[in-house]
């Protein structure tokens, strides 16, 4: 495999990843979410709403006292995600996940989905050190 071909494949792979983590903007403005902040939460999948115009991942997240809060994470359209291989079963109810999201500006329990990691290490979305709370990712500063 020559170098040019390898570079083209890498560019295609990066492009595919970027497309898969596009904010949910196809149907409406994503201005309600703070794209400059990344929040990481641990919880349990309650429901994956694989419906138009956008999919929503419902996650039950406990606080330090054990009180549960339902978070709503907005993702792409089921059509677009379906073409990328995702399915209604991608987030099975009961699965333990760590999720990353751009939170709502007013602090409500919702946000734009970035990535998720399951207990077995399986990752969905873009999970890397450049887009993580620990990296202090905040392009608005």
């Amino acid at each position: 495999m020559n170098t040019v071909y390898k570079l083209a494949l890498i560019a295609l792979a990066i492009g595919a990843v970027l497309i898969s983590v596009q904010p949910a903007a196809a149907h409406h403005s994503g201005a309600g979410f703070n794209s400059g902040t990344v929040v990481e939460l641990k919880g349990t999948i309650k429901e994956f709403q694989f419906k138009n115009p956008h999919t929503w991942i419902q996650v039950m997240v406990p606080d330090a006292t054990g009180k549960m809060t339902e978070w709503s994470l907005e993702w792409g359209s089921p059509n677009s995600l379906g073409r990328q291989g995702y399915r209604p079963t991608t987030f099975p109810p009961g699965a333990k996940v760590t999720v990353r999201l751009n939170p709502m500006r007013n602090g409500s329990p919702a946000g734009g989905f970035i990535a998720a990691k399951f207990e077995d290490g399986k990752v969905i979305g873009r999970w890397d050190d450049k887009i993580s709370p620990s990296a202090g990712y905040n392009p608005e500063k």
Binding site: H27, S29, Q49, N52, P53, M104, S108
Partner: protein, 281 residues
């Protein structure tokens, strides 16, 4: 019922059926064609099969764009040749957009995108050629637009609609069509993108579509608007062909729309799973 009565009744029924049938056959008052339809032979038509996607963001005219980013980003604007009145309205829309208070007309899932916004949508497209017409199909919406290439003319008394009335012809492998009778933003429910660009009910568009290579469709729109523009506005859009086998799905926009627009403020809401707004402060 005796035999004579039965024959009379049957005859009456037959006449009634024939009359009603004739009435349906004529389309209940539908006008007879005022032209002789002509078609282009299949083998004279180009191959535009497959599934396509717009290249670039949903900023309508990237050639005149100021600022980096997408159509909802502060500082991004375009420069249609608006007259003073429509430029002032555009500036107001941009100011609202900067505060995330400019509602997108299609966010409520109730109206079509309209034309020419139909060439500025995310998600896949199909360009369907038939000998007598062309269909522009978009997954997003979904939207359908028909362009007649069978020799008919625009109606002189055509009323304004979201996609107007489109008449076209083939110049080799280029489809050329003119769209008139567009309602534009007369009723406040059609815009070209989320920077808030709008046109009037006097807008017309001449479109030239052609494949520049096997994977690229070029669409050149020449927009004229006696109410809103000082000169014709030429916008070029490109579409790339998606891999063979790509599927298009139905787009039930109202199926689970958790982002309706708040009518009071224009803000796009985020609803929790029970329908309660999370971002009304």
């Amino acid at each position: 019922m005796n035999r004579n009565m039965a024959v009379t009744f049957s005859g009456f029924s037959l006449v009634l059926l024939l009359l009603t049938g004739a009435s349906y056959g004529q389309g209940r008052g539908q006008q007879a064609p005022s032209y002789t339809p002509t078609v282009t032979a299949w083998d004279k038509l180009p191959d535009w099969s497959g599934v396509w996607q717009m290249v670039g963001p949903t900023v309508f005219d990237t050639a005149t764009q100021t600022g980096k980013g997408g159509s909802v980003d502060i500082g991004v604007r375009e420069h249609p040749p608006f007259n003073a009145e429509w430029e002032a309205a555009y500036q107001k829309s941009l100011a609202k957009r900067d505060k995330a208070l400019l509602p997108d007309t299609i966010t409520n899932c109730g109206v079509p995108a309209g034309f020419p916004r139909m060439f500025n949508l995310p998600d896949p497209y199909e360009f369907v050629i038939r000998p007598e017409e062309f269909w522009l199909l978009t997954e997003n919406g979904p939207n359908v637009m028909r362009v007649y290439t069978d020799g008919r003319k625009h109606l002189e008394d055509q009323w304004e609609t979201y996609t107007g009335d489109s008449i076209g012809h083939w110049e080799g492998d280029t489809l050329v069509f003119t769209t008139v009778a567009l309602k534009g933003n007369r009723d406040g429910d059609v815009q070209l993108d989320r920077t808030g660009i709008a046109l009037s009910d006097k807008s017309t568009v001449t479109t030239r579509m052609r494949k520049v290579d096997n994977n690229t469709m070029e669409v050149v729109l020449t927009i004229e608007d006696a109410k809103a523009l000082t000169k014709p506005w030429v916008v070029t859009k490109h579409f790339r062909k998606l891999p063979v086998g790509t599927r298009i799905y139905d787009y039930g926009c109202a199926e689970n729309n958790r982002n309706p627009v708040d009518e009071k403020t224009g803000k796009t809401l985020v609803l929790d799973p029970k329908g309660k707004p999370l971002n009304i402060d």
